[in-house]
Amino acid sequence: MTQIALVLADWAFLDAGVDPGEAPDYDIGIVTASSSGGFEFGQRELQALWSKGSRYVSSYQSFAWFYAVNSGQISIRNGLRGPSGVLVVDQAGGLEAVAQARRRIRSGRPMMMSGAVDASLCSWGWVAQLAGGGLSTEDDPARGYLPFDERARGHVPGEGGALLVLEDAEHARAREAPLVYGEIAGYGATMDPKPGSGRHPGVRRAVELALDDAGVVAEQVDVVFADAAGVPGLDRSEAEAIGKVFGPRGVPVTAPKTMTGRLNSGGAPLDLALAFLSMRDGVIPPTVNVRPAHEYDLDLVTGEPRQIPVRTAVVIFRGRGGFNAAMVVRAPAA
């Protein structure tokens, strides 16, 4: 899991035309998200503990297991001595981490690496996720994960994520940054009300806060990358929120995570990357296998990718326990 994260960090810096070794001390920080830390590593050490004894548990377990391992190892490897941290907010974590990175840049840090990689598919990881509920038990891959479909019965987990180099705009201009994908324009986060209180879920408010923060009105949004939990109650509440903000079938909605599975904290940074690429290439990646249920009144992009210009995108993610997060991203100024 951390191996993937280290490679992604290398590639991201390369893509951004940044040599972290050349940057002034404390100029670059890192904040990532995580949902599970090093599960596969931990499983092996647990097996060693119970089969051979404590003398056979690796010393590296001391940090391989924990949520901050990617922030830690990436910062050590690249000499990132700016502020660092990790956020644990289930599937919403990736957006929260990028929002935190943006806060750091706004308070004076020229550059932050952010995003997340989660990889927990091992026996132990499966057991933990099955016990938590929400996983599909479908055998046919074409029917495994069907958000906004009346056949929705849970999601399929995957492994991976994305890392992004965030930079103060002026700093990027001054160094003549070779590649700018876009801007983190707005952010909103809410908690759901206590179950049984009769109050509405907080996802609509998170989207409205993000739009407000970005100074953007609903009509300006070209695509929504949905959380797409794939569980009927959650699909309904998300579809309702999107309908209230954008109007019935008021904006193209997509869930390319139907192609990768839900990546825990890695899902949101990946959707952010996909949003930026959809702006670059003028194409919205589709939601696969899904036959959208009419009751949701969503303009879901299914079947083929949809070729339209994209300048403004909204990304929505929710986390277990009632976390809602939404982010508005915008194409670079023309």
């Binding site: 003398r55 056979y56 690796s58 010393s59 590296y60 001391s62």
Partner: protein, 89 residues
Amino acid sequence: MSANEFTLDDLKRILREGAGFEDSDVTAAEVGDTSFKDLGYESIALLEISLRIEREYDVALDDAYLVDSRTPNELVDTVNEVLRAGHNS
């Protein structure tokens, strides 16, 4: 398994198994006298190495030995001292 002698090659093997052993600018001849720090082995790597030596050679290595052994050759000498002390008692 107990052995009579612990060699630099034994240590290199354990370094490789326990903490990875990257090709570096240091030649094979120089490794023995290059500090662990310069070889890229920090405290957790040394903890792991110590754990492996302990269970493979059935010895107890005091934490002080790790702190005092600056280079691979010094650690080899220390381990051999402990092994010899064990056989003499």
